[in-house]
């Protein structure tokens, strides 16, 4: 019995020590994503894009090993911060990634205090603020410019807005509505909706009475699906547009247009979808590109005396100075501003047979 136990213990020890040993130091990047909950469709796609970026990076001759640690946050901000603290204390993460404005904003503050490089994908001006914070997303000003062009091209003058009461959407509305008015548009209604709203029939009748030329729909599933269905039922036959979100309700918004971030080169889309089996959704290309930028920055930051891995202060400086000529983005063109916002173009798409099709870049 003693011999058997000893043999088992030796075998277990050998297995535990059998990890591939590498001479290269490892850089750990923690990512807090909504792997469950209403946004799990995005979270799971983003996880796959990070895994793909790590896999693709192994084709290069790199100085360091890169490891991704992903934790579920269900888009609960308390859980996001818990995950960040765990990444720092348990996983010894050198950099972290977060998704969307609400999470990005809370992590920004944390990242500055803990001097951790933070890469986010958020349509918010606040996330990239600070030395260690970077936000790889088509910026709100770029999205707004594109949607205003869409309104002008189609001669839409009376704009109605229906939006979900969520932090980043409210922030956007606070800036978007005055901008619409200052650009000569008539904002006929601005209707907030709770995330648990399932009966919007009376609201839809009120919208019909205002006779808008177009309705800007800034909502997420499931409220988006409910609104789309009830709008069809109530005969609200008005063009609808959105920023980013209509692809989660393709049946309800068939034929409608929306402005979204440039999803990158078509070769990236094919590469991603064929290798992961998952449709590319918002922020996938930004996360892939963002992680590659982090890798580029760590690889190209010189070490100080005694360092094994570049320190984050120097890595942040490298990131701020990235130019298109040095770093090959999978998006057509990117620009890094002094706030750490990595802007990319916005495109106009339309839902045709349930799929988004580029109408105009």
């Amino acid at each position: 019995m003693k011999k058997l136990l000893t043999s088992v213990l030796v075998a277990l020890t050998l297995v535990a020590c059998s990890e591939e040993k590498s001479d290269k130091p490892t850089i750990t990047i923690g990512a807090s994503l909504p792997l469950s909950g209403d946004l799990s469709m995005y979270g799971n796609a983003l996880k796959k894009s990070l895994d793909l970026a790590i896999k693709d990076s192994k084709n290069q001759d790199l100085k360091y090993n890169y490891k991704i640690v992903v934790e579920d946050d269900r888009y609960d901000l308390k859980q996001v911060l818990t995950n960040m603290n765990r990444f720092k204390s348990v996983n010894k993460a050198n950099a972290v990634m977060s998704f969307w404005g609400a999470a990005g904003t809370v992590v920004s503050d944390w990242a500055e205090k803990s001097q951790t490089i933070h890469m986010s994908c958020a349509a918010s001006d606040k996330v990239g603020v600070g030395y260690y914070n970077f936000n790889h997303a088509t910026q709100p000003k770029t999205l707004k410019k594109r949607i205003l062009k869409y309104y002008r091209d189609n001669n839409f003058k009376k704009i109605g807005i229906v939006y979900l009461q969520a932090l980043e959407i409210q922030e956007f509305i606070n800036v978007f509505v005055p901008e619409l008015k200052s650009n000569g548009f008539d904002v006929v209604f601005v209707t907030p909706v709770n995330s648990d709203a399932r009966d919007l029939n009376v609201e839809i009748q009120k919208m019909k009475a205002k006779s808008p030329d177009v309705i800007e729909v800034l909502m997420q599933s499931p409220s988006l699906n409910v609104f789309g269905k009830q709008a069809k039922e109530q005969g609200l036959n008005v063009p609808m547009s959105s920023i980013n979100n209509l692809i989660t309700a393709p049946e309800e918004f068939e034929g409608q247009a929306f402005v979204t971030e440039d999803t990158g080169l078509s070769s990236f889309t094919e590469h991603f979808e064929s290798l992961t089996g998952v449709e590319q959704v918002g922020c996938v290309v930004n996360f892939y590109d963002g992680l590659n930028m982090l890798i580029y920055a760590y690889e190209n930051t010189p070490l100080r005396d005694g360092e094994v891995i570049p320190n984050n202060e120097d890595v942040a400086k490298t990131l701020l100075n990235i130019k298109n000529t040095d770093f090959k983005s999978v998006i057509s063109e990117i620009s890094v501003d002094k706030e750490g916002n990595i802007d990319s173009p916005a495109v106009l798409k339309r839902l045709k047979n349930g799929k988004p099709v580029i109408v105009e870049k």
Binding site: A197, Q205, G228, E251
Partner: protein, 306 residues
Amino acid sequence: MLANIGILSSVLLNTLIIGSGYAIVAMAFRLMFSVSPFFDMALGASVALGAYLGYSLLPIFGVYAYPLILLGVIVFTWAQEAFIYRPMRGAGASPMVLLVVSLGVYTIFESVIHLIFGPQYQTLGSVMDLTQINLGFANLPLVQLIIIILGLVSLIGIYVLLQKTFLGKEIRAIAQNPDLAFTTGININRVIIVVSIVVGAILGAYGICVGYDTGMEPTMGFNILFKGMIAAIIGGPTVLAAYLGAMILALAENIGVWFFASQWRDLIAFVIFILLLWWQPNGIFVRAPKKISCEIKINEPKGKRK
């Protein structure tokens, strides 16, 4: 002016639709409460189960799935009563304990649904299948008409059950005084089982309708039940009172949405709830008990005293 009339008509129609939904749950809750007096939070799970069984079985069995769905929900509701609440009641568990247990049952159910179906919002049927009736000022989808009819059928059916059947007499007896009902030989456990079957059928049918109308997600049951409970409490202890309470609640919510916005809906529901109960703590359709005078009159005999 015309636009306002159109919106008012839409508000009244929407009140009827939403109110019918609240009423179905309120009447089921009242019926169950009359024989098993605790706040059974797991009744919301019965509604959600109807929707999710529809999601699973309709693609396989088509229209033949409907009786299977109802059977599934009936078995679910019956099983809770037979294997969870009845033994606990027999062991002397208080209504508060049963409430907490029912919350546990609901939570387990929600987690299982989440694991099997995922957190995503789902619907029965397609958005493109827009069978509806054009009323001029608004369109009435077929499923919403069915909800209205289901509400009325439930009201009439429960009324007939309670007033015209022997089972109904037993239910009313238990509701009035369970101890006395027991001593007269009524098998209370049997009555509760039968009521749980009726309640399961009603809620299962409504769950299917909800799946078609507003879709489903794992957390759907709680909100649906909560509004039904509020309606039942606002209305009062009878099934008709629960129905009317539901209509009042729906009307108040829709008027609030008309004048303000849909984000005010829940705020209005709870303000109305508190105000109405402050005014009539037993429900607005409960007759106040007759005041019995304690004054004693002594009739003086006629004529002089000797």
